[in-house]
């Protein structure tokens, strides 16, 4: 009997051990496969650029996919000393930021320009929720080139390019404002959707919507601009905002709005005509969806707009032609956003379930019970998700990025606040597969993928020398007024010209600087201690900035961007002479600073030079 029991116990243990080993083997091989799929060897390029909004970093992060390597941060609404971006109070971009809301921002939604319903690699727009702004980033140089303060709007949240050819960028105003802009108005507050011209970056018109306008998308034919709207109750606090059973998906008829504006039906405020849909029927259609919805996404074929329930476990599928609800299937707890592959499947982020759910659109519309295809756990509390090309008419169907709000135990602990977490998921098969995770600074909300093959050839290697550039041989220091000096400076490995600049205390010194390098990546910095000045000039770039010189002294400016074997020697002096009095600062070792000088105690290098 004892022997039998022993045998049974041993065989159970052996089976368990075997299962354990086999299980580990399976996990191991799956991990090896995933690792191979995201491994990009040194020197090779990723297949996609992913543009992630930087959230409260006020910037855009550029990440290579599938490797997850951070390639670039594009500063937009916040100064970045590393890129010499908007650092000095007199920097034109810094002034622009200060005058339009502040030198900080909260970026949420990157929206690339489109031609024929797919990305064309020209521009990327990004919102600043906090200060009601929209910025345009040039994708040939990966730099911010325009910033727009949107009139009559607070809380620029959802934005979307109007497909298929970027007619406008629609910007949703999330926070309601007094209708006439004055807090004394007893009428209910309202919000607007602003339609911005992509080239001029001017607001062409705005459409008033009651409630909080949230996330945006456009129909693929450009007829409708969709926006989810919550708080139709117009409550002022959380409790007041969730009273109604249903809020709305707003559909703005763009052609009807343009017609009404042309007919002068808009009320012009701060230079922008605002349409009130109550006075202009046909411009705005409100489609009732479960209360406090969040994302809206139009399917790649343009047939359906899908509003995600957030508080309701459903998505609402709306026929884009009829604006009627065709289905409202359950997908899981906390559905926020939806993206698409190229095989008729939708992927919805489930904030509460911490999952991505894959479901078949046609089956959900037909009402068959097997529309859910797969679920995968993400870590944790996913917000946006984006599949490659998922917002275009031609999704790629290979990768999906989950942008998670919390990472909890996923990374080495770094204090009470943990890194923001992204997870890359393979969606090429029937079942989703987790590939990799990578953290970023806070806090990406949304992302878009752009194929490397589309963008690589469009990216400039050097800036073109413009009419405002300083030419080699054209350098000068010019006194332009009793207390104003202009320095026309060039820089090339490994020197500034001129390298000594003498001014008087109290002068306003305007540095006009050109990096005259002609090869890529040969960026030079210009940092001037005690004057708050740090500029970065990529090859071919010209920048101009005016500083004051309040205190006499010798100030060494130097190159902050490691450039060459003589990088440390790349510097020069701003000599600020006292305003009054006979004492002048004399040049340091004047006349002795010549080549071949025998420095006492240091052996000559003459002999070792190839002789």
């Amino acid at each position: 009997m004892t022997r039998i029991v022993t045998l049974i116990v041993l065989s159970i243990l052996a089976t368990a051990a075997l299962m354990q080993t086999m299980g580990c083997g399976e996990t191991g091989s799956a991990q090896v496969r995933a690792a191979q799929e995201v491994y990009v060897p040194p020197g090779e390029h990723d297949r996609y650029y992913a543009f992630l909004s930087g959230g409260q970093s006020g910037s855009v992060f550029v990440v290579g996919i599938p490797s997850g390597r951070l390639i670039r941060e594009i500063p937009v609404f916040e100064p970045r000393a590393a890129y010499g971006y908007a650092v000095h109070p007199n920097d034109p971009r810094r002034r622009e930021l200060e005058s339009t809301g502040g030198a900080w921002g909260d970026t949420h939604h990157p929206a690339p320009s489109e031609t024929n319903g797919v990305y064309d690699g020209r521009y990327l727009w990004i919102n600043d929720l906090a200060n009601g702004r929209l910025a345009r980033v040039r994708l040939d140089v990966f730099e911010t080139d325009r910033i727009l303060k949107i009139p009559n709007l607070q809380g620029a949240h959802g934005i979307a390019v109007v497909s298929p050819n970027t007619k406008y960028i629609g910007v949703n105003g999330e926070f309601e404002q007094p209708t006439d802009g004055l807090a004394t108005n007893p009428a209910p507050y309202t919000s607007v959707v602003a339609f911005v011209d992509p080239e001029s970056m001017q607001v062409k018109f705005e459409v008033r919507v009651n409630g909080n306008i949230d996330i945006a998308d456009s129909s693929k034919d450009g007829r409708y601009f969709f926006a989810t709207v919550y708080n139709l109750e117009q409550g002022k606090d959380m409790g007041g905002m969730i009273q109604f059973d249903r809020d709305a998906l707003a559909a703005i008829d763009i052609a009807a709005a343009e017609k009404a504006v042309a007919e002068g039906k808009g009320v012009v405020r701060n230079g922008v005509p605002i349409l009130d849909p109550e006075n202009v029927p046909g411009v705005l259609t409100l489609i009732p969806v479960p209360k406090n919805p969040h994302g809206v996404n139009v399917t790649p074929d343009g047939r359906y707009a899908i509003a995600s329930g957030k508080l309701s476990p459903t998505v609402t599928i709306v026929d884009v032609k009829t604006l009627k609800i065709v289905a409202e299937p359950e997908v899981g707890l906390g559905p926020l956003h939806t993206t698409f592959d190229d095989r008729g499947n939708a992927f919805t982020s489930l904030f509460l379930d911490s999952q991505v759910v894959k479901w078949n659109i046609d089956k959900a519309v037909a009402g068959t019970s097997d529309y859910i295809v797969d679920r995968i756990n993400v870590h944790y509390n996913i917000g946006h998700l984006q599949a490659a090309g998922g917002e275009t008419m031609k999704p790629h169907g290979d990768f999906l990025l989950a942008l998670n709000k919390l990472s909890k135990d996923q990374y080495l602990p770094v204090g009470p606040d943990m890194p923001e977490a992204q997870e890359l998921i393979d969606i090429s098969g029937e079942k989703m597969r987790m590939l990799a995770a990578f953290p970023t600074p806070p806090e990406p909300h949304d992302a878009v993928f752009m194929a490397a093959s589309l963008l690589k050839s469009k990216v400039k290697q050097v800036f073109d020398l413009g009419a405002d550039s300083v030419k080699e041989g054209g350098e000068s220091v010019v006194r332009t007024g009793p207390d104003a000096v202009t320095v026309n400076m060039t820089m090339i490995r490994s020197a500034y010209t001129p390298e000594t600049i003498e001014v008087r205390e109290g002068d306003h010194v305007t540095f006009r600087m050109t990096n005259v390098e002609t090869i890529r990546d040969m960026t030079h910095g210009f940092a001037l201690p005690d004057h708050g000045l740090n500029v970065s000039l990529p090859p071919g770039a010209t920048k101009e900035i005016t500083i004051e010189t309040p205190k006499p002294g010798v100030y060494w400016f130097y190159c902050t961007n490691f450039c060459s074997a003589l990088h440390l020697e790349m510097r020069g002096r701003l000599v600020v002479q006292p305003k009054d009095g006979p004492v002048k600062i004399t040049d340091w070792r004047a006349g002795q600073n010549v080549a071949g000088l025998q420095v006492p105690g240091v052996p000559s290098t003459e002999k070792s030079n190839g002789r």
């Binding site: 390098e517 074997a565 003589l566 080549a595 071949g596 290098t605 030079n609 190839g610």
Partner: protein
């Protein structure tokens, strides 16, 4: 038309055209210049190509391009004279005088090309030896770039090669030699 006449006319025409094409080329590659080798072309107009970048790099090792290259200014008239000589040779008779004239043309041609090659090699020696001794980087010893093929200079590999003009001149010389060897009318 006699074969020798055709060959000589062709040689004369090629020489007349080649005089205006780049003679020699240099390709410089280094680890930090991936997929973007620096190129220099030598033609009768002087040195062209990535001159600014190469000059920027040269200052670190005290190398500089010759400021004045008189031989390049002489080359077009010399080549045109050679072309004329070859053309005259083409129409000279089949007799001894004509043959002597043709061989003289070939001789001048060969001497000219050898002298050019020697001049280029001399200039290359100067580039690697007549240097600023106070240049910042002391690690690069004096060097002589080869007339053909690769030479290692610091972190760079410099490839020298005849460009279209140089190749055309050698081809023309071959045609002229072949023409001079033809004795009888064909």
């Amino acid at each position: 038309m006699a074969a020798r006449r055709r060959l000589f006319l062709a040689a004369a025409a090629i020489v007349a055209i080649a005089a205006w094409l780049p003679y020699w080329g240099f390709l410089m590659s280094a680890p930090q210049y991936p997929d973007e080798s620096l190129t220099l072309l030598v033609s009768h107009r002087g040195i062209a190509g990535d001159v600014q970048e190469v000059e920027t790099l040269q200052q670190y090792i005290g190398v500089r391009f010759p400021e004045h290259l008189p031989e390049l200014e002489w080359l077009p008239p010399t080549m045109m004279a050679l072309a004329a000589l070859l053309a005259i040779g083409a129409f000279a008779g089949a007799g001894l005088a004509g043959r002597l004239l043709r061989w003289a043309g070939v001789g001048v041609f060969v001497v000219l090309l050898l002298a050019s090659a020697a001049t280029v090699q001399r200039r290359l020696w100067d580039v690697g030896h007549v240097r600023d001794r106070h240049a910042p980087i002391t690690a690069v010893k004096d060097f002589t770039p080869r007339l053909f093929g690769p030479t290692k200079v610091g972190n760079f590999t410099v490839w020298s090669f005849p460009h279209v003009g140089g190749i055309a001149l050698v081809a023309a010389m071959t045609l002229a030699i072949a023409g001079a060897r033809k004795k009888a009318l064909v």
